[in-house]
Amino acid sequence: MSSGAVRKRWPSRVLGVWAGAVVAFLFAPIFVVVLFSFNEPGRKLANGSWVTGRYNYKWGRFSLDAWKNWNAYPDLTSAFYRSVRIALVVVLISTILGTLMSLALVKYRFKGKGIVNMLLVLPLTMPEIVLGFSLLTLFVTANVSRGVITIVIAHVMFCVSYITTTVKARIRGFDWRLEEAAADLGANAWRTFNRVTLPIIAPGIAAAALLTFALSLDDFIITYLNSGRVETFPIKIWITKRSSIPPQINVFGTVVLVLSLALSIGGLLGQRRRGRVTTR
């Protein structure tokens, strides 16, 4: 190592700068999102008074107004809550379906496993517009009105694959003979599942559920095609931006960002603590 140190230092430094630059690139618009939640778009009139603009695109002046009046646009707020509710339902359904599927795929040998695996990967290899459009074609042919239920159906459809793949990867290494041991010791099936299986697969499921929640909350393309007149948060932004882009949108964006940050830090600390306990 030491022989190459002189020669290695230079590329290593370049690498560090490069990595830093890419992280900066990733953060640039996020910085803008947060910054513009403190913006009051508009301009100053000749007489010194302020006209508030409709589009939060240009810096007007610093203001806490959007934070104080975060609920100034009740339709925006209710669209946000609606998205959260939909995401909760989607997480619930797709976690159950996905976990069952991953258990089947990891624990059992059976004919047709290859085909099932392929069916699970296929939705992930298809652009959203094709998934959304084909689902819409089905709804139109079957004469189903689009609304909350079709949104949930669509979200679960692409989330099941994510959940199954993620959970599968997490529980692949698990020694299933533990279950047999528990059964031999007299635990019934439910007890075995509850005490042995669940604790082991739970962290994987939790991670997958979190991912699914984010996917559902954020999805625009598939939802847009299958929502009818129902407005989710992204759809509300898409529609409303024609007539105005209030800074409240950025407030919601920032809040979600901070909450997810807190959640991941919490999860990380929890994991670390748990890790310490078990190693002791």
Binding site: P29, Y108, F133, T137, A189, A214, I237
Partner: protein, 286 residues
């Protein structure tokens, strides 16, 4: 209950249950049914819809009407993917090999932007790229952009936004594959090759290719089907397949053509994926 797997299954050496034929299907049932009804059947419907009125001529029309857009879409997605490798690989390498105790922090930094809604993120790019915004100002100052030149409504804006929005999907898989590499291999390598560069090209890079493969798919596929970036940051000359479908998908007169266009998009991507898998020699997806 079947969940416990206790039932009638006999313990096997590896703990897998081969003999219980109906249990796995019971577990798979609900999920498979969902995928079948809401994924397989719709694709079938889409295919059928693409042959309504005009039959196969809908497909030849797809290329004559939208040839330019199809080409543009794939060029955009390809360039965005290549750039994502160029930007993302060094970052993933840095996180996996050099970051030390900052590893988790950096990983979080890569993922964090994605907790801000996709549309809001992209609107933020618009703020940055406006004619009187900071990016254009800087480019004018450096002379990289002519006095009247702009960034919005250019190929660069759309490709850049695609790159941005899907970059983490490149970084994470590459990171995972780099992180999995047995460090003893890397330590042994200098003894054999005595050169950092050769170690990288002979050991590290080949071992990380599955990550590059997965990352490329996760960047390329969504890029092909996107319409948001082209709509928000591009103009009339930057339309992608997604924009065409989005604009016309519900017009009944155009539905067969749009279905055909969607099918073409899907088949081209699947073809591309298989070819790519062939070239890279990776047999397992993701």
């Amino acid at each position: 209950m079947a969940l416990g797997g206790g039932g009638g299954a006999k313990p096997v050496g590896d703990g897998l249950h081969p003999s219980n034929r109906w249990v796995p299907w019971l577990l798979l049932g609900p999920g498979l049914a969902w995928l079948f009804v809401f994924f397989v059947i719709p694709l079938f419907e889409l295919g059928r819809g693409s042959l309504v009125r005009g039959g196969l001529s809908n497909y030849s029309n797809v290329f004559s009407d939208n040839g330019e857009v199809i080409l543009r879409t794939f060029v955009y997605a390809f360039v965005a993917t290549v750039l994502a490798v160029v930007l993302g690989y060094p970052l993933a390498y840095f996180i996996a090999m050099k970051a030390g105790r900052f590893k988790t922090l950096l990983l979080a930094a890569v993922v964090l932007p994605f907790f801000v809604t996709y549309l809001i993120r992209t609107l933020a790019w618009k703020i940055l790229l406006f004619g009187d915004g900071p990016v254009v100002g800087f480019l004018h100052w450096t002379g990289l952009l002519s006095k009247n030149g702009e960034v919005l409504n250019t190929h660069a804006a759309v490709i850049g936004a695609l790159l941005y929005n899907f970059l983490p999907f490149m970084v994470l898989p590459i990171y995972v594959s780099l992180d999995k590499i047995d460090r003893r291999l890397l330590e042994a390598a200098p003894d054999l090759y005595a050169d950092g560069r050769r170690t990288f090209f002979k050991v590290t890079l080949p071992l990380s290719l599955p990550g590059v493969f997965a990352g490329s798919l996760l960047t390329f596929i969504p890029s092909c089907g996107d319409f948001v970036n082209a709509e928000l940051l591009g103009g009339d000359r930057q339309r992608m397949i997604g924009n065409i479908i989005e604009k016309n998908f519900l017009r009944e007169n155009f539905r067969p053509q749009m279905s055909a266009l969607s099918f073409v998009l899907m088949l081209l991507i699947l073809g591309g994926v298989l070819l790519y898998a062939r070239v890279l020699g990776t047999e397992e997806l993701a």
